[in-house]
């Protein structure tokens, strides 16, 4: 892995139009972003602003209408092997006919020419990393929501991706579980040197987790704010969230989003 500052994911002039019977919707209207290796970028915005679409285009699951995504100078045309996606709907993304360990091993079995033994070893290791040891033989639907999302994260991480794309991954779990998942994700990000692009509608979550927060406007989505988050590491759910800088970032972003929605007229300093 090279230095943490080389921009290796470049998004250029990305536009996405959806044509439906009712007319044409422009979901994304000219997005330019450079994302450096090892960063944790959150994308926040109102629902329907195209942030999930942006993530799906980066993942190669959806084609852009115009513009391009470059990963290490290669144009993304289909799902790149070094990019993996964690869906919001873990109940639907995990395969219900496979046990936890079969789900986690799924990517490994399909992607890499590894021996059965090394697949098993890596599966075991990654299940330990997301603290699910002992649940290998369970089916996902026998686990709580937070545990299921950990299975989905483990399944992605087992393939050792460079980039992890996460679409509101913690929005369906309760607040305490979410805090636990946030800590787990932060520690995995730091340990594994991942680049994370994290879509959320929750500004607090975005600021707390990230090294950078990008706010999108309501559709047609453009970049409304692009904020580097220079909060110290390691972060702490209580201490970090009480820092003046944290509150300042949060206020700036909320002011931007509220202004877009016409909710506040006053400027927040």
């Amino acid at each position: 892995m090279t230095g943490p500052s080389r921009p290796f994911l470049r998004i250029r002039g990305l536009r996405k139009k959806f044509v439906a019977a009712g007319g044409t919707t422009v979901a994304l209207d000219g997005i330019d972003l450079d994302i450096v290796r090892g960063s944790f970028v959150s994308i926040v915005g109102p629902s329907g602003c195209g942030k999930s679409t942006l993530l799906q285009i980066i993942a190669g699951l959806v084609d852009a209408t115009s513009g391009a995504v470059f990963l290490d100078d290669c144009s993304v045309e289909g799902p790149p092997p070094s990019v993996l996606y964690v869906f919001q709907q873990y109940t639907r993304s995990l395969f219900p006919w496979k046990t936890v360990e079969r789900n986690v091993a799924y990517g490994l079995e399909n992607r890499e020419t590894l021996s059965r033994a090394s697949i098993a070893a890596r599966t075991r290791e990654i299940i330990g990393l997301v603290k699910l040891t002992g649940f290998e033989r369970y089916y996902p639907w026998q686990l709580s929501g937070g545990m299921q999302q950990r299975v989905a994260i483990a399944r992605a991480l087992a393939c050792r991706p460079e980039v992890l794309l996460m679409d509101e991954p913690f929005s369906a779990v309760d607040a305490l579980t979410r805090a636990g998942l946030q800590e787990l994700l932060r520690s995995l990000w730091r340990e594994l040197g991942l680049t994370v692009i994290f879509v959320t509608h929750d500004v607090d979550e975005g600021v707390y987790l990230s090294t950078r927060v990008v706010a999108l406007t309501r559709a047609p989505g453009t970049v409304a704010a692009d904020l580097p988050v220079e909060l110290p590491h390691p972060r702490d759910q209580i201490a970090t969230r009480s820092l003046p800088q944290y509150l300042d970032y949060r206020a700036q972003l909320l002011a931007q989003l509220f202004a877009d929605e016409g909710l506040v007229a006053t400027e927040v300093a």
């Binding site: 993942a59 699951l61 799902p79 092997p81 990019v83 993996l84 996606y85 869906f87 709907q89 109940t91 639907r92 993304s93 395969f95 219900p96 006919w97 799924y106 990517g107 399909n110 992607r111 033989r137 369970y138 089916y139 639907w141 026998q142 393939c159």
Partner: protein, 281 residues
């Protein structure tokens, strides 16, 4: 079979919804229904013994059972049954295989759907006895004809259910597989087929009943062996007890086949019942 499922998942004793069998009063269990059958059979026996029903067309139940036992011991009934079941399973196997294949193609490729949907809808409503004479013209009256009849009739329920199953595969599951670089035939094997399997099983269960019916019908129309042939020739030879014994055999076979099917289904689709229960909560 159900016990086998529990043993396969030793870490999950609590997930099988069935509680351990405790001592329950017999009229709160299925034994009530079993006893009811026994009562009906006794009533049959009495009705014939007292002359309420003519013993010429309906023999006593006890006589039927004795005849049945004699036919089993002599091996005659089992030989006929063996011929029938062989035809049925070969036909069923081909019908189900082709039904799954065509259902997959139609669900997966719009082209196949547009090509095959109309012909399916035209052929499907024809009751199988109606085309039996045509099949005899082409295939004669031997096993080929019966196997074809059974396969053709078993095909449609499986085809239609497989098609619905493929159409209802969760797009997020497909996208998930795509992010792992899985596509094409691998995607079908790894995601589409397992996700559609509850539908496929529903179709297979309907087809099993259909296959049994078509087997008997085709053997009654033209055959020199098989349980359908046995029943009809017994009736023609005024061997009424033998005729009833043949029908009794079909009741037992139908029951056993269905129980066997449900046991396999419960085992293969255990994940499906757990999963849908979770979605409902």
């Amino acid at each position: 079979m159900t016990e086998g499922t529990a043993a396969a998942n030793p870490v999950l004793p609590d997930t099988k919804a069935k509680p351990a069998r405790r001592h329950t009063l017999p009229w709160k269990t299925r034994w009530l229904g079993v006893a009811f059958i026994a009562v009906l059979l006794v009533m049959w026996e009495m009705a014939v013994a007292t002359g309420t029903i003519s013993s010429l067309s309906v023999p006593r139940m006890s006589e039927i059972l004795v005849t049945w036992w004699r036919l089993i011991l002599s091996g005659e009934l089992l030989r006929e049954l063996g011929d029938s079941l062989w035809r049925m399973f070969v036909g069923y196997f081909f019908g189900v295989s082709l039904g799954v294949l065509l259902g997959l193609l139609m669900g997966y490729f719009r082209l196949f759907y547009n090509l095959l949907e109309p012909v399916t809808e035209v052929l499907r409503p024809i009751p199988s006895p109606a085309y039996l004479p045509i099949v005899i013209l082409f295939l004669g009256i031997d096993d080929e004809m019966k196997i074809f009849m059974i396969a053709f009739a078993s095909l449609f329920p499986v085809l239609i259910n497989t098609y619905s199953g493929v159409r209802s595969v969760d797009p997020i599951q497909l996208q998930t597989a795509r992010t792992f670089g899985v596509a094409g035939r691998k995607l079908v094997w790894q995601v589409v087929l397992p996700a559609a399997s509850p539908y496929i099983f529903t179709g297979m269960r309907v087809s099993l009943a259909v296959a049994l019916i078509v087997m008997v019908i085709s053997e009654m129309v033209a055959a020199s062996s098989g349980i359908g042939y046995f029943i009809l020739s017994a009736q023609r030879g005024f061997k009424i007890r033998e005729m009833f014994a043949g029908v009794l055999t079909l009741a037992v076979v139908g029951y056993v086949l269905n129980r066997l099917f449900v046991a396999i289904e419960n085992r293969v689709l255990a994940w499906h019942y757990g999963y849908t229960q979770q979605l409902r909560n």
